[in-house]
Amino acid sequence: MNTVLSRANSLFAFSLSVMAALTFGCFITTAFKERTVPVHIHVSKVLLKNVDDFTGPRERSDLGIINFDISADLEPIFDWNVKELFLYLSAEYTTKSNALNQVVLWDKIIQRGEKTNIILKDVKSKYFFFDDGNGLRANKNVTLTLSWNVVPNAGILPLITGSGHMSLPFPETYETPRSY
């Protein structure tokens, strides 16, 4: 503390320790918060096709084509420890070969300050809904859920599934391919 440099050093070190304590405080004030909100999912169109899957087994696989509506108010999730939300809509179903299949159909990033109330009407899925075989045809229970990753300033990275899901049966017949 007797020279300018040693004072600067202890001042800087003390400030950093205080900042670390504040960051921990920011984490602890939001660590036990419930980050679930109700989500309404509605499927407006379901088609089933049997097409060549060039990325997978190189055989004809089931391709589901789904249009959906989502409405959710994500405002209660945001607080001072949330930088952004990564939302994704996933489909879960059971086939003969796999007890659990999960396919992500659509995703969206919502950053701080953006519109937090999402209302989607008749949206096409962003990614292909391919099964790795023929498990989608006449599948009685395909469940759509909206989940999200909360990206915080400090602390853990929670993965939360919204309350409210949509189960739909798939048609028994394939849509006949028109001209591509």
Binding site: M1, N2, T3, V4, R7, A8, S10, L11, F12, F14, S15, V18, M19, A21, L22, T23, G25, C26, T29, F78, D79, W80, N81, N153
Partner: protein, 103 residues
């Protein structure tokens, strides 16, 4: 040129150093509490960081330069002892050492 720099006082006395440390710790802790509460209210952690940085800047200004308030208690040194008495001062120390005995 060098003499101008050497004439700038840079030291603080002991009480001044203690005062400087108390001042910067106080300022940063107060700004941390204010920043935490304000950030919690407006739900922006960035404001907390800015307020602590502001406290850091203020305490840099207040405690880094050796202001006159940190030099109010200079050490009072003993008057210089003449050279010839140096030998006399050494003798009592030897006397102290001698009676030490190991059991």
């Amino acid at each position: 040129m060098l003499s101008i720099f050497k004439s700038i006082p840079t030291h603080m006395d002991y009480k001044g150093q203690k005062l400087a440390e108390q001042i910067f710790q106080g300022i940063i802790l107060v700004s941390a509490v204010i920043g935490f509460i304000y950030g919690l209210i407006v739900e922006q952690f960035g404001w907390t960081v800015y307020i602590v940085l502001g406290g850091f800047a203020i305490s840099c200004l207040l405690t880094l330069p050796p202001w006159p308030m940190y030099r109010r208690h200079p050490l009072t040194w003993q008057p210089a002892v003449p050279e010839s008495q140096g030998d006399v001062r050494d003798k009592p120390q030897e006397n102290v050492k001698k009676p030490r005995k190991h059991k």
